[in-house]
């Protein structure tokens, strides 16, 4: 008799390795990537840019993680956790890159010397040293907020990653190449929910519209470059976020229209704030929770 399970194939492919349950057949995303900083690029700029993109991923990952045990269904909880893990993976690579460019802020003064740079940056910076955008910092009141914000954030980030694959920095290019399929899935997942909530019941429509109305103003500074981004874009290392505006708005218009939601007016471009370390008060409690264990038990492992 022929018997098979999809899980047998994993052990078959990896011999007697008992650790297959923890994952196998994965490639280290930076394996074989040259990590020298390209000529003519200021390491301080590169590191600052990696912090912007890494902090966006880290903070959004933390926001999504907050829905574990609170999602409407177990299945959706796992989906949000998977997306959060993808983003955490992106954050790790980007914060490591910032560390290799020696952009560590005050974190190294506080973190134990043996702690990797990525952990020092995640756990031992204060809110004013974070470079994430207001879009990812905002709290999410309900599930409609979760998926609308995820739609906007993943649409922006996918448009960016798509272009960043051609970066002159080999690490940024590799991180972007890994991120594109992940972000495509995140955007797809969020869009499916926005369609279903917008074009669902009267109550789901009301909540989805309220979420759209609340999230839209947070996009105001997403398309304004900092001086760091401008310099790096000129050096073909970064992408000027103004380039993303049309694509991001096209996607959002398509989804919202199909979801029968009213498109609020686009906010005018404002100067960057989060990218310069200016954040609303809601970042502080988020980071307190994210950093509490690492700060209370320095050097702890589990």
């Amino acid at each position: 008799m022929h018997e098979e399970t999809v899980y047998d194939a994993l052990t078959a492919a990896h011999g007697d390795e008992a650790r297959w349950a923890f994952g196998t057949g994965f490639d280290a995303p930076l394996a074989g990537v040259d990590t020298t900083i390209p000529d003519g690029v200021d390491p301080a700029d590169l590191g600052a840019y990696c912090l912007m993109l890494g902090d966006d991923a880290l903070v959004l990952s933390q926001r999504l993680t907050g829905w574990i045990t609170r999602a409407p269904e177990l299945e959706e909880e796992v989906a949000l956790a998977n997306i959060a893990l993808d983003l955490l993976g992106q954050a790790r690579l980007l914060l490591s890159r910032a560390g290799s460019a020696r952009v560590l802020g005050r974190s190294r003064e506080r973190a134990a010397p043996e702690l990797p740079d990525e952990d020092a940056l995640a756990y031992f910076r204060d809110p004013d040293e974070f470079r994430c955008s207001a879009l990812v910092v905002a709290p999410d009141e309900d599930f409609a907020h979760v998926v609308v914000r995820l739609l906007v954030a993943s649409t922006w980030r996918l448009a960016l990653a798509d272009r960043l694959r051609a970066s002159r920095d080999p690490v940024l290019a590799a991180v972007a190449a890994k991120a594109v399929p992940e972000l495509t899935y995140h955007r797809d997942h969020a869009a499916r929910w926005v369609l279903r909530l917008g074009d669902g019941t009267a109550e789901s429509h009301r909540r989805a519209q309220a979420a759209v109305d609340a999230v839209w103003p947070l996009t105001a500074d997403l398309f304004t470059a900092t001086t760091v981004e401008t310099r790096l874009a000129d050096a073909a290392v970064a992408v000027d976020p103004a380039e993303l505006r049309d694509e991001v708005r096209d996607v959002l218009v398509q989804v919202l229209t199909r979801a029968t939601l009213v498109l609020p007016p686009w906010p005018g471009d404002t100067p960057p704030r989060g990218r310069l370390g200016e954040h609303g008060p809601e970042l502080t409690p988020l980071l307190e929770r994210l950093q509490s264990v690492a700060r209370a038990h320095p050097g702890a492992t589990w």
């Binding site: 057949g25 269904e73 177990l74 796992v78 998977n82 499916r192 279903r196």
Partner: protein, 93 residues
């Protein structure tokens, strides 16, 4: 908890020939069920293809009918190809 219907999930592994039942999940519709199945059942590179089907659409044999359904084949040895030599290089038998 909610009124989401139950779906049965079938995954075809990388080297598998058939879709194999791996479990079930709740989802608001079939498309979302495929998505949820990706997150719940293919977290470790297992799958290359996913099928879902509403559990209520599966017609199953009843445990009460076990004997009338299956016992009559128990003594029909001539239905088993036990009298043949099977070459080593014939797979999936």
């Amino acid at each position: 908890m909610t009124g989401w219907p139950l779906y049965e999930v079938f995954v075809r592994g990388k080297r598998g020939l058939n879709h194999v039942h791996v479990g079930s999940l709740h989802a608001p519709d079939a498309e979302m069920a495929v998505h949820a199945a990706r997150d719940l059942y293919t977290r470790r590179n297992e799958g290359v293809s996913i099928w879902v089907v509403r559990s209520v659409d599966i017609t199953a044999s009843s445990p009460d009918e076990k004997d009338p359904m299956f016992a009559p084949s128990g003594d029909k040895v001539y239905r088993h190809p036990t009298f043949y030599e099977i070459p080593d290089d014939v797979p999936h038998i």
